[in-house]
Symmetry: C2
Subunit: 373 residues, 2 copies
DNA sequence: CATCCAATTGGGAGCGCTCTCATACTTAGT
DNA sequence: ACTAAGTATGAGAGCGCTCCCAATTGGATG
């Protein structure tokens, strides 16, 4: 029976329409379930327009009326219908979050989950909701269309790793406000929030140098991913500054996964580095495993620095020295930038680069400056 | 106070509207971008109604008209406005996914990210979109209201671990279709998709018995979380079947985190178990670490079985024997059940329990039946 | 040739909201 | 007292869609 009620309410709404003209004066059971502005207006003794003004914070409402209306709204727990609002005003207070599941297997690395969480939390604070699309290649084009043109979304956040992503292109053509997580050097017009990968990498190499290492290798990211490119630039710049030679055999590219980190380290071993800067903590931990399996010890034989500072880093053996990304700030930054872009396009900030931080633990040897748990 | 926050939420939407009246007759940039049914109808030489029929797959359209209209829609890349659709039909094709970030720190365990991914993928296949709410306690009540009463969502998926979740309660009162991930023994009416945790646990214990272990301990989940309860029941049942005594000192509860797994194992060591069944792979790996740190070896001294079969399991040292949860099937199951519930409430299935599978690796000693990489 | 019954199609009302405009009611300035 | 400029409110016209109902068509039938 209950299920039947559900049916009536959610499948065939028009049913209600039939009754309207006939039973207009009779108590309509449908209306008891879903309140409308008109209901509130009737109860508060004013018009729909006035209720709308109160809800939207219009100043031109007398104090007494405002209080009366607010009281009714609170008592009846009224929520304005978002679809109607979106239709009438063109704004839905919904942001799209697109995460292309392309190159990297996203969910083996805790970075993305944490990013999602921080974005979600920032949205809540600004009273927006988020729609999530994990864009698998096969559905990508179709999905993008739906998102861009269905008018349900005020703006989009794209957490794309790869450069020249087709999603970014479509977005750019669409006039829908959007912000990317990670800068795109080929495209100066898109708004972005990024982390200072270049200086993060430099910091890592300088620290390894300070700890006495001279043959510093790196497990780099893919070359079509901007974070990989920037971190490699930082690596090379630091070597140059420190007067160390750049040796291509000490650079192995990878795809951020545990497996590729392990394989990369195996390849590096024959070139006998005394330190390795890995592009992610997941790979750093895999590299430590590879070294152990090959009979080397960390940090005695090889020092390791990771990137990200995921929770795993503090718990590895030995605890991992790493470059921390401020994931919470990325989430907050990207959400705030997008909302500003939607609400005040003229004055909104269009890019933001967040600082990275060196977290010293034990994977590069003991250091009195150690600043972590 | 909470209600006040609600009000604040809807404060300053306006903006765009100010421009409207002035440019009404001038070419309106908004309108050029957004096609409507009427536009398509004009171009295809028919009426709005007919276009609507074509879009919604109504059979009462002649073949020639249908083709003509479809052609125009494709050429102009027309997407019907979802807000208008939602308003007129009462259906938005949007599902809510609520993940309460309560008890457990969700994103240190890859289970939830994988679940999100599988749900997202199942939604795409059924042409639904998802809105994601990570429900932090402080925003929870307010959020729930918005979700339930804003009319933007056709149904809700709740991935709640804890029993007696207030979100489930609100949902139950709301008449909005919803499905829970994980059964709730206190509430027979809610629809759910669950995994056979009871028999999964039994399988684990029986396997340990078969491998010659007799003092089998368990790192259990929290007692207010159904998976913990079910797996503990399975553990006890298996002991009874196998004629092993139940020893409460061999049961330590935990919260699924790495830290609590490590601590639990430390506590268990003094009772000298020769096997441990951990309630999650994350904890199983932590337990192995705790054993190593205490000078024991796995599987020689203590055999370990985990639960989940996350990717980490195959890569641990030694590779972890574990009980696999079919996460993809959970996602697909929960999405399909919810959509069925929305579209055909009378005939929809209301519960689904998926089988678990024993994945034999090396953490319980060598076994000829080993069936994994 | 009139009649009937589909099969198609168009028109209209309405979903619940926002926002302009017109109206009534103030308050102040001269 | 009479206008000028607010302030507070209500009425109305949509937003772009769905769905009902009525109208039109083209056979098939009597």
């Amino acid at each position: 029976m209950d299920a039947l009620l559900n049916l009536i309410r959610f499948t065939t709404l028009p049913a209600r329409v039939k009754f309207c003209p006939l039973y207009e004066s009779a108590p309509n059971p449908q209306k008891t379930m879903t309140l409308t502005l008109e209901d509130i207006a009737r109860i508060a003794g004013c018009s729909r327009s006035t209720v709308s003004r109160v809800i939207n914070g219009d100043v031109n409402v007398s104090v007494s009326t405002r209080q009366r209306v607010k009281k009714v709204i609170t008592e009846l727990n009224f929520q304005p219908n978002l679809a109607a609002r979106g239709l009438a005003s063109g704004q839905t207070h919904i942001l799209g979050l697109i995460i292309p599941l392309g190159v990297v297997s996203l969910f083996t690395d805790p970075f993305y989950p944490q990013l999602i969480q921080s974005i979600s939390s920032a949205c809540s604070q600004r009273d927006y909701s988020i729609m999530l699309w994990l864009a698998t290649p096969e559905f990508e084009r179709r999905m993008i269309h739906q998102i861009l043109f269905n008018g349900l979304i005020d703006g989009v956040i794209v957490a794309s790793m790869s450069l020249n992503d087709s999603i970014i292109q479509s977005l750019a053509e669409s006039k829908l406000p959007f912000v990317a997580v990670g800068r795109n050097p080929n495209d100066e017009t898109t708004c972005y929030v990024d982390v200072d990968n270049y200086n993060g990498a430099r910091m890592a190499i300088e620290y390894l140098y300070k700890m006495g290492r001279r043959r510093i290798a790196t497990i780099a990211g893919p070359s079509d991913v901007i974070v990989g490119v920037d971190r490699l630039r930082g690596y090379k710049a630091a070597l140059a500054e420190l007067g160390l030679p750049y040796d291509p055999s000490l650079v192995v590219t990878s795809d951020f996964s545990d497996e590729s980190g392990y394989a990369a380290m195996q390849k590096l071993i024959e070139y006998k580095p005394d330190a390795v800067f890995a592009n992610s903590d997941v790979m750093a931990v895999a590299a430590i495993r590879a070294l152990h399996d090959a009979g080397f010890s960390v940090p005695e034989d090889v020092a390791i620095v990771g990137f990200d500072d995921i929770t795993l880093a503090a718990r590895s053996t030995p605890p991992l020295t790493t470059i921390r990304q401020p994931i919470d700030l990325i989430g907050a930054g990207v959400v705030n930038m997008l909302i500003d872009l939607i609400e005040h396009p003229a004055t909104a900030q269009r890019s933001l680069v967040l600082p990275t931080e060196l977290i010293i633990r034990s994977s590069c040897g003991e250091d009195l400056l150690k600043n972590s748990e």
